[in-house]
């Protein structure tokens, strides 16, 4: 009985249309409206209305193995199955890896998408794709979502709108950058918040200064900084002046420093998140969205397990489990989860077949993604893969769909137009649909 109600709730069609929707619109079609028209109208209305104010994106760079975390195939042959066993979660019918016991206890706040899928197996290319929602070259032709969000929302508080903790995702060069939007929308990189005596560089005054001296510096600067009075029409000069002011505001405002003052957090809570780079990054992410940052990327790399994957995951999963589960619980308890869309994913999943080095290789065809908050209906699984976990068999979710989901959750239309350096207009996304079952 219980299972039946769960499954009707869970088994939605991919376009988000339930049987009940069909019945509901049965009457409307008589008025000459088709179902797609009605849904399209609803979708447009939805795009304008924000479900969330903030985004925390946990980026699992390198490509976390979905086979060993969120999409276990215990009936698959040994060369695919791997060494982790599934465990029950606090949602009946949903099982995940035994390596993630704490996350299992947060499943009632999470939604899993098991059908992430694209066709690219190259770290940089795929990372740019999933961080932008647009396919481009490995070098980042398009701005990352965080940069676009900063561009759309502007600077609304003394903390930067787009922050990367501890830095942008990177394999050999930085990814998640602002591309043609320029330095103005680049992420603000914090450094490792788990470092002893962590401080964001250059934010705390480097010397104790009386207000009179601060004022004197600014007035002397005003007297001698004459270049902009003689050189007009130069964008770098204009940007420099604007950023000079923003930097001065950040140094002088205690709120900015306070946002990064992770040592003000309760000691026990810090332990609970885990005294690791990732654990403290999750905690800092929460602190920042509380204070006005709109898009935080927590970059957690090192999932590229081409060899000895099970040993690797034994070491890596506990950090992830602890930090991520604690962040979800903490956001929930503080009432922040409803305004904050949390997403966790990497650039791809990993191959079903375990290779000769006991590892798994790059695999764009299937990956698991985790969502929470921001109006996401928790305790559900969207999509699935075949019996080897090799391909999405229903509800395939492409990078553009993920980006569309995030933009629309923030009330940003994916059709918003940006201007390329040559003046060519370009929409945030050229394809993609919100993953509707997430919000059903």
């Amino acid at each position: 009985m219980f299972d039946i109600s769960l499954s009707t709730r869970r088994q939605r069609r991919c376009d988000g249309v339930s049987r009940r929707d069909f019945l509901r619109v049965g009457g409307l079609t008589a008025l000459g409206l088709s179902l797609p028209q009605i849904l399209a109208a609803e979708a447009r209305a939805g795009a304008a209305k924000a479900r969330a104010k903030n985004v925390i994106l946990v980026y699992l760079g390198g490509g976390m193995s979905h086979h060993d975390t969120f999409d276990l195939k215990s009936n698959a042959p040994a060369e695919i199955r791997g060494s982790f066993s599934p465990i029950k979660t606090n949602v009946a019918g949903i099982e995940i890896s035994e390596g993630l016991p704490k996350i299992a206890q947060q499943m009632d706040k999470l939604a899993l998408v098991r059908s992430g899928s694209h066709n690219n197996d190259h770290h940089e290319t795929a990372t740019n794709w999933v961080l932008c929602g647009r396919f481009g070259s490995a070098f980042g032709d398009y701005p990352a979502m965080g940069a676009c969000v900063a561009h759309e929302f502007g600077v609304q508080s003394v903390v930067p709108p787009y922050v990367a903790i501890p830095q942008n995702p990177s394999f050999t060069w930085e990814l998640g950058k602002s591309a043609f939007l320029g330095g103005r929308y680049e992420s603000f990189r914090t450094g490792d918040p788990n470092a002893a005596d962590f401080k964001v560089r250059d934010l705390a005054p480097a010397e104790p200064l009386l207000a009179t001296r601060t004022e004197r510096r600014q007035s002397l600067l005003h007297a001698v900084d004459q270049l902009a009075r003689r050189v007009h029409g130069n964008d770098q000069i204009a940007t420099y002046d604007e950023f000079h002011q923003r930097a001065a505001d950040m140094i002088l405002a205690p709120e900015a420093r306070d946002a990064f003052a992770i040592d003000k957090e309760d000691r026990a809570l810090r332990e609970q998140y885990g005294r690791t780079e990732f654990g403290q990054s999750c905690l800092l992410a929460r602190r920042l969205i509380e204070r006005g940052t709109r898009f935080v990327t927590v970059s957690f790399g090192g999932w590229d397990h081409h060899g000895k994957i099970f040993e690797g995951l034994e070491k890596k999963l506990p950090d992830f489990d602890r930090g991520f589960a604690t962040m979800i619980e903490d956001l929930h308890q503080r009432g922040l989860l409803q305004d904050t869309l949390v997403a966790a994913f990497g650039e791809f999943g990993r191959s079903p077949k375990i290779n000769k080095d006991a590892g798994r290789d790059h695999w764009g065809h299937a990956a698991s993604l985790v969502f929470a908050g921001g109006g996401v209906r928790p305790g559900q699984v969207v999509g699935s893969t075949d019996k080897e976990g090799g391909h999405a068999i229903d509800c395939p979710v492409a990078p553009a769909d993920v980006a569309c989901t995030i933009y629309e959750a923030l009330g940003i239309s994916p059709q918003t137009t940006l201007s390329m350096p040559d003046g060519r207009p370009i929409q945030l996304l050229d394809e993609g649909k919100t993953i509707k079952p997430l919000f059903g």
Partner: protein, 832 residues
């Protein structure tokens, strides 16, 4: 001559003709018609006439849209706004009437002959159908042209593979896409016209010309291309070059030329892309409309693999008085070329920079260093008329010059440690760095240096340039499949060919075949990496390896052949890179000279003649082709002596113009009417902070006093250098070095402990002056000279002295604040 050079030469010829036309101002206004004679031989042909008014004062105006057209025998053709379609066979005359600016009527005529108007000619799939998919963006990368296709329908990107497109249309989807029995029920037509829902919307109307072409092709049984198809040899665009005004309109005309000698008007089937959206717009039919800004821009025209551009000049102002140019006295050929461009564009240059501005700029650009206060004073005191030329000569002989240009070359050649499998380690990076330094110190000609790198063989200890191959081949076991072909093209030829690795280049002639022909030059490179204890990495030419590279789409094995398709034969035991280097460095290779010329020009003038600096192609022409050509010629004539070219550039008045803008030239960002200010590069700024404050930076693993510019290894951990965007040298793209301005940089300049400590340092410049109890007015001067390379202006001195007076006995605090302010000026952080 390469295509690029021919192109530049052609443009120069055209500019010349335009000028002469302008001088012959006595002629009366008249109309000209292009083409004066028209012939249709099949019912499918169309033609666009161009009607041009030549005013009495030598300007041209397009009247194509406003003229009236009358056929003596109206039954022979339909004509609308100069666009003709045949109706019946016969010969007739078209009378064209247009009005000049005063409203006077001018008349001209064109002859028309029509044949075979009643026949239904066969439609050729690749010639007639595929271009429609391009025209209506069906096969673009955002739609069905991407690798995954769109909704199960995939076309080759920009139609580069017509046979794939044919199979997709005819054989896939159980034949539903095409219905020869009822062509209008074909899915491809229903979708394209939006008759049934189509994600891309309606692309063209039922009954329109493209509709009819597709419809007739389907009705004819959707035949494949058979026999040896005629191929497109090129397309021609008119006008190719035009000086026009703001808010003007100009119709383009596009002619395709085929291998069988026939031509066809493809104006309505060609694709148009505006490459300067701030200046103008272009519609589907090739009508260009200029907007409200001055400048130069191009329209890219693409048809069936043929690519051309039409170039538009829109003067910033009309009728700039000759006196505005009179103060500018050309010093060499550079100045003559820039002056001519300013005349064309109606923009007058700023004044020549003062001595202090010049000295700081020249010292920074040539050596990456700030001039010292003593150097500034000595230069100001020098009364000789040729002191600037002497100064330039001196700067180019300084050891700091060698350091700076070693850094530039090391960026270009991506000198770094290539992850863990680069067993050379940081030692290999240093070896290559010091090898480059030797070459710069000897002023090694650029062609010789390039040849050394391209053909290097042996071990990395003795031949450090092997490192270039280690880095660009990376982990790949097949060099022809690695990054090296694209890196070589971009670094040495300023040409981006990476697109063609997967599909034909969308904005250049390069095909996928061209790419793999080029890649084949590296097919015998064998890198032997030993563990470091066993010895150096060795590069050998493995003659046992078969010559050639596999084209992945066709599976064909392609022989080494340069990008201009010069046939190349190689001996069985050859090192193909010898032939490559010979072709790359040949004096007639305009890309080789042009690429380095453009890089040098950008270094000194801030903006390349071509931008991006390493994206030379016929469709992205230099903003001043005459100048570009002259610089290239000068370089080749001086045996690729880079220092000679630098000296020539630095001695030009153009380089020595003030950075101060005038209201008339502040909108110019491409034609060098004033000096373009820019933020100092990371290493130069780090060194500038160190020398201004007198406190050297310490880089871990290197001795104290080592300047940032001298560092060989880009992976050295430095917050400052990363923050200000040094190049990590991971790619061949010049864009890796970033010159943007970020909030973090400003936080660091205002509040970074490194900056603050340097101001405070007890051995620093300020502390020493305070210890020596130098008079305060002298100290003010000295700080201005150290940071900004100039004395304070009168108003600045007054403001500073007033503030000092208020500071009372807190002298040290005051001077720290003044120094802080000077280091936080844009004048310090920018080259100006």
């Amino acid at each position: 001559m390469t295509r690029f050079a021919r192109y530049a030469a052609a443009l120069i010829a055209i500019v010349g003709i335009l000028d002469r036309a302008g001088a012959a101002s006595a002629a009366a206004a008249r109309l000209s018609i292009e083409p004066p004679e028209l012939q249709f031989t099949t019912a499918d042909e169309r033609a666009q006439l161009l009607v041009t008014l030549h005013t009495a004062d030598g300007r041209t105006l397009d009247l194509t849209r406003s003229a009236t057209y009358t056929l003596a025998n109206p039954a022979l053709a339909r004509i609308e706004q100069g666009y003709l379609a045949p109706l019946a066979d016969g010969e007739t005359t078209i009378t064209i009437v247009g009005q000049d600016e005063s409203g006077a009527r001018l008349t001209a005529s064109a002859a028309l002959r029509v044949k075979n108007a009643a026949a239904d000619p066969p439609i050729h799939f690749s010639r007639d159908v595929v271009p429609l998919f391009s025209k209506f963006s069906c096969n673009s990368g955002g739609c069905h042209g991407k690798l995954a296709g769109q909704n199960g329908f995939r076309l080759s990107l920009f139609g580069f593979d017509p046979s794939l497109d044919y199979d997709t249309l005819v054989k896939e989807a159980r034949g539903r896409r095409l219905f020869p029995a009822a062509p209008d029920q074909s899915l491809v037509l229903l979708k394209a016209t939006g008759t049934i829902p189509h994600g891309g919307g309606a692309r063209f109307d039922v009954g329109s010309e493209p509709y009819q072409v597709l419809h007739r092709w389907i009705k004819q049984g959707a035949p494949a291309d058979h026999g040896k198809p005629v191929t497109l040899t090129k397309i021609r665009v008119s006008p190719q070059e035009l000086v026009t005004t703001r808010h003007a309109a100009q119709q383009l005309r596009v002619i395709a030329e085929y291998s069988d000698g026939t031509t066809r008007d493809v104006t309505r089937v060609a694709e148009y892309r505006c490459q300067a959206n701030d200046l103008m717009q272009v519609d589907m039919n090739g009508l260009v409309t200029t907007l409200d800004r001055g400048g130069e821009g191009t329209i890219l025209v693409r048809y069936s693999g043929g690519i051309e551009i039409a170039r538009f000049s829109i003067p910033f102002s009309q009728g700039v008085p000759e006196a505005a140019f009179a103060a500018f006295q050309p010093a060499n050929y550079i100045d003559e070329a820039t002056l001519q461009k300013w005349h064309t564009l109606g923009v007058a240059p700023s004044a020549v920079a003062g001595d202090e501005e010049f000295l700081r700029r020249a010292t920074l650009d040539a050596t990456g260093c700030l001039p010292s206060p003593d150097e500034v004073r000595a230069f100001l005191a020098d009364a000789r008329p040729d002191k600037r030329a002497r100064c330039i000569d001196r700067l180019l002989e300084r050891p700091e010059y060698v350091d700076y240009w070693t850094l530039k070359l090391a960026d270009l050649l991506q000198n770094r440690k290539e992850r863990d499998h680069d067993v050379r380690g940081v030692k290999g990076v240093r070896d290559l760095h010091y090898w480059l330094r030797e070459q710069v110190a000897k002023n090694r000609p650029w062609n010789e240096l390039a040849r050394d790198v391209l053909t290097v063989r042996g071990d990395s200890f003795e031949h450090p340039a092997v490192g270039y191959y280690v880095v660009t081949i990376g982990e790949s076991h097949e060099p022809d499949k690695s990054d090296i072909p694209a890196s070589v093209a971009q670094s040495f030829l300023g040409t981006r060919i990476l697109c063609a690795k997967c599909h034909n280049h969308p904005t250049e002639k390069y095909t996928q075949d061209d790419y793999y022909h080029f890649a084949a030059f590296f097919s015998r490179v064998d890198l032997k990496r030993e563990s470091p204890e066993k010895g150096p990495t060795r590069l050998v030419n493995d003659v046992k390896r078969a010559l050639g590279s596999n084209q992945p789409r066709t599976g064909e094995r392609l022989n080494p052949q340069p990008l201009d398709r010069t046939p190349t034969t190689l001996a069985n035991d050859a090192d193909p890179r010898e032939a490559l280097a010979k072709w790359v460095t040949a004096p007639e290779n305009a890309f080789f000279s042009g690429a380095i010329v453009n890089r040098l020009w950008k270094h000194f003038l801030g903006i390349g003649l071509v931008e991006p600096v390493d994206d030379l192609r016929a469709t992205n022409p230099p903003t001043n082709p005459q100048l570009w050509e002259a610089l290239s010629r000068d370089l080749v004539e001086h045996q690729y002596d880079l220092k000679h070219l630098m000296r020539t550039i630095m001695n030009s008045r153009t380089y020595q113009l003030s950075a101060n803008t005038t209201p008339e030239n502040e909108h110019d960002a491409r034609f060098y009417s004033h000096f373009y200010v820019r933020r100092l590069p990371a290493e130069v700024l780090a060194d500038a902070l160190a020398t201004a404050t007198g406190v050297p930076e310490r880089f871990s693993g290197y001795p104290e006093g080592m300047r940032a510019v001298q560092l060989p290894d880009p992976s050295l951990n430095s917050y400052f250098l990363g923050l200000f965007g040094r190049s990590e040298r991971t790619t061949a793209c010049a864009c890796e070095r970033r010159d943007d301005v970020t909030v973090r940089q400003l936080l660091h300049m205002q509040n970074g402990d490194a900056v603050i400590q340097k101001i405070h340092d007890m051995h620093g410049r300020l502390a020493q002056m305070l210890d020596a109890k130098r008079p305060s007015s002298e100290m003010i001067d000295e700080l201005f000279l150290a940071a900004l390379g100039r004395h304070p202006a009168a108003d600045e001195r007054t403001a500073v002295e007033q503030s000092l007076a208020q500071a009372g006995d807190q002298q040290m605090d005051f001077f720290q604040d003044l120094f802080w302010a000077l280091l936080n000026t844009k004048e310090f952080t920018f080259n100006h």
